[in-house]
Symmetry: C2
Subunit: 318 residues, 2 copies
């Protein structure tokens, strides 16, 4: 089986770190480049985190580009230090890698890789969609150049997280998300509906922490911070696996059990539903709910067991 060339757009971020580690560990993926955007932390800090993680993983060869600091309709607002720590890594200080970010922007990197790997590149976006929207403006033919786009973001039938209606990646830049969902590429949306069901428990974290391997150990340490935030959500120390689940779904490593292909749009008004991902799921009462002419596959359910798969893979690879 050929590997899948991947561009990752992220805001590293604790679960972004897990996604990066998984993309390096998976035999199915060839991670060609990473672009960052503000979200969990600011775009430049996210790039530093990414470079440091890649070095710790023994992959300092992978280029990282800094993307947008601000969102389409609003300036960056300071990230989520209560979720991901002041530095996005739960306060963990990784050894500083010598490599610096590229001179090209994240959107420029995405367009370049799409042209170089025409028809083959998979775009995995686990952050606000600002860079992807910019790339669509730089190269309107991007949807023809790219094989598939997988997005961790949104809430289809599940509650939001940052607001009652909206998931954080979409809420930070609804205008960009609206542009990205409207573009004519094949999209897979991995919303809270499924990411909140794949929960990493303390036993998983301890396996990473006590592995004696630098990258898994670092992930186990930063997850302690993330678990504390999720204690307020689930009532116990654990965490949802948003970003690595999206990466694994993009690679076809997780069996999705309910994923209708439907029309999807983003609410960009400034009312209580701002940032909501409005997916037309009215067909679910009749069966699959697929809609003719739609191009957004919305993953509502997946087979359980992803955290085990993730941890096993990381401990095997590193």
């Amino acid at each position: 089986m050929d590997t899948i060339p991947v561009y990752l757009d992220c805001d590293t971020g604790i679960d972004d770190a897990l996604a990066i580690a998984h993309l390096l560990a998976s035999p199915r993926a060839e991670l060609l480049g990473v672009g960052t955007v503000s979200g969990n932390s600011d775009a430049a800090q996210c790039a530093r985190n990414t470079l440091d993680l890649l070095a710790l993983a023994g992959r300092p060869d992978i280029p990282v580009a800094v993307g947008n600091h601000d969102f389409q309709a609003a300036p960056y607002g300071g990230g989520s230090p209560h979720v991901h720590g002041d530095n996005g890594m739960g306060g963990l200080e990784l050894p500083r890698a010598p490599r610096e970010p590229e001179t090209e922007s994240a959107a420029q990197m995405l367009v370049r890789l799409a042209r170089e790997h025409r028809g083959r590149l998979h775009v995995i976006a686990v952050a606000p969609l600002t860079n992807l929207a910019e790339a669509l403006r730089l190269e309107p033919r991007l949807p023809e150049l790219v094989a598939h786009v997988t997005i961790m973001g949104g809430a289809a039938l599940a509650p939001g997280n940052l607001t009652p209606a909206a998931e954080a990646n979409i809420f930070h830049d609804p205008e960009a998300a609206a542009d990205v969902l409207a573009a004519p590429w094949e999209l897979t949306l991995v919303p809270l509906d499924v990411t909140m069901t794949e929960v990493m428990e303390e036993e998983h974290r301890l396996r990473l922490l006590n592995s004696g391997k630098p990258l898994p150990e670092a992930l186990g340490r930063m997850l302690e911070y993330y678990f504390e935030f999720y204690r307020g959500i689930f009532g116990r120390p654990c965490s949802a696996m948003h970003d690595p689940l999206a990466a694994a779904i993009a690679l076809g490593e997780v069996t999705v059990t309910r994923a209708p292909v439907v029309r999807a749009a983003v609410e960009t008004g400034h009312g209580p539903a701002r940032g909501a991902t409005v997916c037309d799921l009215r067909g679910i009462y009749r069966g699959s709910g697929d809609q003719d002419g739609a191009h957004c596959r919305v993953v509502l359910e997946a087979e359980p067991g992803f955290p085990d798969f993730l941890v096993d893979g990381l401990l095997r690879a590193f």
Copy 2:
């Protein structure tokens, strides 16, 4: 047990007819008056349908008031003839009752009944909330005068029906719904989440149709039209029990098994989420999800079996 004095606001409508019949059949309810509003059909036609139903049920003494023809931000758009028929009754022509609607408006009737039954009146609204919002403007102290408001409307975590995000009663007049949900009364919202799970089947309809009793027989006949619409939703002739379920929940006749009390708001922008009922259900991962200071109980699940309860009650009472 004292009976509960009820003001019903409706847009009769086939399932409204079932709600009216149930309120007459239930030993718990004392139906004091009915106000109509445009929705399934126009407000005047809905009042005529209501008067004719009440006469057929042997209750021509109950007054009916015509409410708003148009919505707060938009004119009435012609109703739902594909769901409820041109006359709102699935095309069935009921014997015309001699009684005419009251001279007071629906909002005036609601305010009058709230004053006359201070602290005891239950408001059951199974239609666009235009009349309730007008009543709040006529009498800003209405929330202190009324015991409880139960609304059939909205979609909390379920898909909408009229749009991907919005249920019809709310979508017709989101501005009115926003006013009603913001007012400081104790509210119970009965959204599509639960009404789409209580499905009347052909066997129920045939029990009504073949009962040999005028009102149940009429309901069985008009339900044939409604069932045809729902064939497109569920893939078989049947129907959701929106309005009568809300009435039964208001009367405490149905055990609700999941109904957190949360903050709720209505999206009034003109984007894809217009008319969405944004309920803050982010607490569901931790248990009940109740929020301090909230006053909207959102019914997400109820014990099954409501259609049997409904039909049994109608056949016993009439």
